[in-house]
Amino acid sequence: MFAQQLVNGLVVGSTYALFALGFTLMFGVLGVINLTYGFYLSVGAFLALFATQHGVSIWLALPLAALASGCVAVLIDGLLLTPLRRAKAPELASLMVTLGATLLLYSLANAALSTDIRRFPPGVIDANALEIAGIRITMTQCLIIAAAGIIVSVLLWVMNGARIGLGLRALAERPDAAALMGVNAGALVRLVSLASGTLAGASGVLIGLNYNAIQPYMGEVMMLKGFAVIILGGLGDIRGALVAGLVVGMLETLTAGYVASSWKDAVGFVLLVLTLWIRPSGLFGRLAVKRA
Amino acid sequence: MSAPRLDVDCLTVRFGGLAAVDDVSFSVAPGTVHGLIGPNGAGKTTTFNLICGLIAPTGGAIRLDGRRIDALPSWGRAQLGLARTFQNIRMFNDMSVLETLMTGMHANLAESLLASLLRLPSFRHAERAAIDKAWALIDFVGLTEAAHRRSGDLPYGDQRRLEIARALAGEPRLLLLDEPAAGMNPSETQALEALLETLKGRGVSMLLVEHDMRFVMRLCDQITVLNFGRKISEGSPREVRADPLVVEAYLGAKVARSLEAPP
């Protein structure tokens, strides 16, 4: 029973980690808390849903929907945040803009799609399950863990190794100096938006598959959880977000299993408040660089 | 010699393994202007920020009139009489010149929340006195015509004067000036020098970090020279100018720069 809970927790946790990764990447490199981020999750889930309803295989629908969400992220960033960046507006201004945009986007999505819960067509994924030592692992769960693992590995590889990663880190530390060093800031901003939006979209598809329930506000719920995860992990800390995502996912699942499922959503926020009191710099103690 | 106004004692700060400021000691006597100079990367700005309280030291002590201040946050130091200006001028753009100066009086303006809410006589007297004092300062720095203008709209030179006046408004024991002549044209620099001379005449103690060497030499009573985070020389402008170590430090920096520069 406990082992089964752990596996379920791992699955939930890896979707959280994936989601939080993009969120913290956005903050770490672009220096803004972009509250529209959760919306890209809903976008990803709905696009995958529509694609599979039209007979597209989920293997194709997942990457396509994720990338399309990334493009939406680039578009929205360009519309809302680029003007503020140009005007050198304070940090909180961008937070407020994206806050307003969130309200707007969800209301529109709500009007267009209604809040009815929708489900993937049956047979999107093989309904069989593996059984190892009494633990049931569905194909969906396998897909989630595998996809999350692959996406995270690719991202870490890019960030740590490639030239792009170097530019990104330069942009995160000293945006002005990065520009002087010939880093094309505009292109990198778009790239980071694309990457984060893709991560959100991918996690949206996976979360939609996991619960087999899709509706416009699913992104907002995750967004609130995302705060808890990225603060627990340390704002802007990629490794922290991964670990914190897994931790929150596990603890939620265990809370649902052993306490009451209605309290599971409080887990993240209790952790958030505790983190702020005990260790505001997050799990690994790297406080986000405060921009002057 | 009287007790020092500011006493910096074996001040050290390390970032990672690197000592940005290494065992630096100097003191500023009351009523004097003390210069802090050195080539680029010598640790002047870091020392300045240590004194203001923007960076926490790894070791050493800072005393203002004999009182340890190195554990206090920047506002705590300001309340004890440490005022500063910024290298890149920091204005309260929407405030008028007069309001800016009244804001500068924050630390010694006795207005309780209750008195402000009830508009008690004590509050009205304090405000009136603050306004009168602000006008006196405005006249002193020559911004009379601009008193009611938005401070963000003033020309650069005037903003610098306003910033100095804002720092003076709190009647500080020590005025810290971070490259006040940076970005000024010759006539603005001249006006600034005259202003600082007058302040000196009035007995304001100052610590000046500055690049413009002639400016420093003319204004300062004592100069401390830093290089690579250490103190390499100290004395009157004449002594410092004659010190071979100083000449070498500046020359070395110049030669290094000329070597780096593309042909």
């Binding site: 937070l95 969130t102 609130l224 926020f269 | 300001a78 509050f123």
Partner: protein
């Protein structure tokens, strides 16, 4: 009271109450924004005030003034708990932590027997009304206007413009931030309590994320150059759906668009007038 006025009040009672309550909420947002901080916990503070007051009235039957006092103290305590650890960090932390507070509280209200669960509390006796709502609003407005034109108001504007420079002038930054957050929480709690006692029914979802964003839109639409701006913003955004009936369904769309447009195109808000900061005439001394 003349009859036509009586009729008018009766017909538009709910709207008139809502205007006053939202005005108070807008002011509670103003205190925090005025020194450059962002709290998204205004709805949570309001909810806490509403629940505490409703429970004290319904279960213990305490006198109304005492109930209001408690409804201000409880959110103040919550503000201290969230504010103290976050205010030394960058402003983003306060924003995120207050969102967190709102969610924890909502989940608690939904799950707790005491607070009536997801159905909320009903049958709250009607107390207060026009005089207590508009009296509080007027008092708060006057108090903020007076404070704005004093040393404290200057320090607040200085912090909003440039925190580093304000600190260098001796403004105790954490004390001001915490003070503002606590005052803001008390005001929101008061608004919640007053609202609960004129609407007789409260439920957990009234105080969620959307409500927090709506309160922010009041202040941003009006502008924070003076305390009058946010109140004006609240009045407009409360009246708008009533005047333009078709808009009522798109309230959140309107609020959201207003925030976006205000921050990008009108950073000073509709009432761009900035209140002077000196508490006396600034003329030259004779």
């Amino acid at each position: 009271m003349p009859e036509f006025l009586d009729d008018f009040l009766f017909t538009y009672q709910t709207l008139i109450y809502a205007l006053g309550v939202n005005g108070l909420l807008a002011l509670s947002m103003y205190v925090v924004l005025a020194l450059g901080q962002l709290s998204l916990g205004q709805a949570a503070f309001m909810g806490l005030g509403a629940y505490v007051s409703a429970l004290l009235t319904v279960k213990l039957g305490l006198p109304f003034p005492l109930v209001l006092l408690a409804a201000m103290l409880a959110p103040a305590l919550a503000a201290l708990c969230v504010g103290a650890p976050t205010l030394r960090l960058s402003g983003v932390y306060l924003a995120l932590a207050t969102i967190g507070l709102g969610e924890v509280q909502r989940i608690f209200f939904i799950n707790s027997e005491l607070t009536g669960g997801a159905l909320g509390l009903s049958g709250i006796p009607t107390k207060g009304g026009l005089i207590s709502i508009y009296g509080s609003l007027a008092l708060a407005l006057i108090a903020f206007a007076f404070v704005a034109r004093s040393k404290i108001g200057r320090a607040m504007e200085a912090m909003r413009e440039d925190e580093l420079a304000a600190g260098a002038l001796g403004v105790d930054l954490p004390a001001y931030k915490l003070g503002a957050l606590v005052v803001s929480a008390m005001l929101a709690g008061l608004a919640g309590a007053l609202n609960a006692h004129v609407s007789s029914f409260i439920s957990p979802n009234d105080y969620g994320f959307d409500a927090a964003v709506t309160i922010l839109s009041f202040a941003l639409l009006g502008g924070i150059g003076s305390p009058f701006g946010p109140v004006l913003g609240a009045f407009i955004l409360t009246l708008l759906p009533e005047v333009l009936r078709p808009l009522a369904d798109y309230k959140t769309v309107v609020n959201g668009s207003i925030i976006v447009l205000a921050v990008i195109f009108m950073p000073r808000g509709l009432l761009a007038w900035r209140m002077g900061r000196a508490g006396a005439a600034t003329g030259r001394p004779k």
